[in-house]
Symmetry: D2
Subunit: 254 residues, 4 copies
């Protein structure tokens, strides 16, 4: 790496009386003038969001925040029990669960939508190819289906409905709906668009690159996990979780 | 633990067609109706926030989000370089830096404000005792002073100003200002209220328990760290950081 | 920090044909000549261990490695389920549970032994003071008692027995035994020296500073957690743990 | 999952006077009778190791433990600076750097060796195919080449030499040497077998499944990182690292 190629940062700097982040004066141009979600968008993309972009990002952050006693939440509770002095440790441990098993489908669906929107033969034609390919290979289609919410995931319908009322381009949402039609035809039954599928479409609409979409889930879930610590402080469950799991997995020589 | 004392959760549950979080129907009562910051408040405290409470929490989240190339941000960049497939790992590693060195002063200041507000002799009298005690023990007063921002941390003045314009009780803010007066008198020079001190007062105003205040910083910083990953994807610095540090710490036998 | 005070490292460096760690040539002086436990001791303390020191450190590493389905192990299993591609994430999450709740007693016991060994009135006299103080304050004595292993923790007796057969100074072990006598007298009943108490004495004997004793537990537990991932790859339990915990903590409005 | 398919554990259990791990009585059959490395092998594979298997695993643990100021070590130092009370946090953060960038090549090389050993046309013929494929696709061959150690990584020669003196099957080592010949021929120049390549062969020899090989590196590195914390306690470098990196990445608007 030659001297002129050394990396720089556009994120910010401080002087004695000034703090600049993302090209704005924190005190004069951000505090009291931009909201948290607006600033997240600016920070992630380098661009100030439109009100519609802020609204959609906020909707995604609200929708993904909390899902009850998920693996991440159980992990956060157990680490809080083990190290009550370190809230950050309990959240960090839980966030390590925002991995491929749960969030990979969002990225997988975003990739399918990108593939459709770039297809020379048109999105609808490509949707049929994609649906047939997954069916023939007996693979799950990322963004579709749900183990509990049948026939439809109530979140995804609401997400798409709110988004369609806003003045956004609509291409990713339209692509997702087309994919849904193709999927139902290819499989001969209805598979719901699930919350990760709808999230992929909404984040695509607001130009969040698919490579960093998982970061939105991480921010949202960090708030969810702090809530679990709050409940744990009021109603501790760590020891009960431990005892329960010990009893649920008996000893048996392999 | 007897059967009737087994822990329960008030956070939420799902059925086939419904998701409830914090006592609200996610689809009908939260999505499109509550913002991310509102939901964070509800999730952390169990209570729906007033608009003023939402505004103050949002202000804190905005203020703490980003501070440039802090230890946490450097850590996130190095872990992203080491494991680019895991955004959650890079954020989790960085969040582990939201520990006592940086955020302990917020909690320490909150404890002083609580002590003042509960003092039978009155907050101002207790402020003088606290300031004298720290001066005599040559200890830093949490929430005061800043290595770069002199004479005043520009963030704290702005935070208190915005808060005072809103209809909040004002007791914690008044206590912090009284403590500032006592500190300047005890030390014979001006020490700025810094951003962690102002944060302690604002979160006190909106009834966030001091035990979980660090969680607000964790949520806010998680968004800051995702922004660093975004920049790292566009302008990688991980290898440069590594090389720079290797050269900055030479080998020498102990 | 002035230029001449800049930190250096004594840990190591590499050249084109040589790697030096802890002052030794890795290829010629370490590989095939020193064992893992020996190298851990050298790396932690800067000194080459005697065979007795190596044996005691190895004994501690063996004893602490594995305790079945502890909170750390449950966490590692859940994170492995969530992100099977990242073994390091699952181990890191589990290690975050090696905190004050489980390992703080080792450090607390080490501090008591240090206090006894430095007491002008002698270790036995100070032991009586310590035991009385904890009894009067109704505080648990770190390193004593066990919820399951009664009357005695079988590990601690064996640890002390092995150590006493080796040619080590014996001061920390003697202090721990004296503390045990004082505890039984003060409480009027027998409280076992537990494994964390015996560990504190053994690590004290081999001059591991109490500030870094937790690091020995971290190394040992990292191996234990890798074993849980190995079993998880053969017999997955992550989903079963999740389902079990969900059912064990019912929803109830606060 | 039906009742009879519920997962069990073969790792261990405790009763009032007994602790069993991996089918052995911890106190009577493990403590003082098995070493740490032996127990790691048993715990990872379910089988008691031969002395040769123990020696090779120990050699790998020694070789991978420490590499100076790597990204993982820098991360551990910065987190220790941020949260000195939590050794486990500093180690966990550093371990998150044991990801695809550094350790992926070990797994990649292990996969190539497995491919060669299973090839109907014989290992040497498959080696030529593999080398040609990577050359034609201009991809690095995992386990070969090193940015600093030229012409040869001194660790890998020593690792293979020690292993060949022991009574191990030798198939993976022979395959790695054959692959080395094929690589040199295909590229028309000498590429060193590096330490990750030699590690893949040695762990293959002792029947550590490639899926969990990364776990060996995690255990080894955890010890290395504890050593960095030890040095940090004696000679703090965290603030110096922070300052150095801040100056090395200047602010520039994108």
């Amino acid at each position: 790496m030659s001297a002129k190629q050394l990396p720089t940062t556009a994120i910010g700097y401080s002087t004695q009386d000034k703090i600049v982040i993302n090209g704005l004066d924190l005190v004069d141009e951000v505090m009291g003038k931009m909201g948290f979600t607006e600033l997240i968008y600016l920070h992630m993309t380098g661009n100030k969001p439109t009100p519609q972009q802020t609204a959609l990002l906020d909707l995604v952050l609200v929708t993904l925040m909390e899902h009850g006693l998920t693996p991440s939440a159980i992990v956060t509770r157990l680490i809080h029990y083990s190290t009550p002095e370190g809230i950050q440790s309990a959240v960090a441990a839980g966030l390590l669960g925002v991995g491929s098993t749960f969030i990979g489908t969002m990225e997988g669906c975003a990739a399918l939508l990108d593939e459709m929107l770039a297809a020379p033969e048109g999105a609808a034609a490509r949707a049929r190819t994609i649906a047939a390919r997954h069916r023939d290979e007996r693979r799950a289609i990322p963004g579709f289906g749900h183990p509990i919410h049948k026939p439809d995931d109530p979140r995804s319908g609401r997400m798409l409905q709110i988004a369609e009322r806003l003045d956004v381009p609509g291409r990713h949402i339209a692509a997702l709906r087309e994919l849904g039609v193709a999927v139902d035809q290819a499989y001969g039954r209805h598979l719901t668009i699930n919350a990760t599928g709808a999230t992929a479409a909404l984040l695509g609409e607001i130009a969040i690159p698919s490579a960093i979409m998982r970061g939105v889930a991480v921010i949202s879930r960090s708030a969810g996990l702090v809530g679990h610590i709050g409940e744990e402080m009021r109603t501790p469950s760590g020891k009960h979780i431990w005892n329960t799991v010990e009893q649920a997995i008996p000893y048996e020589r392999a």
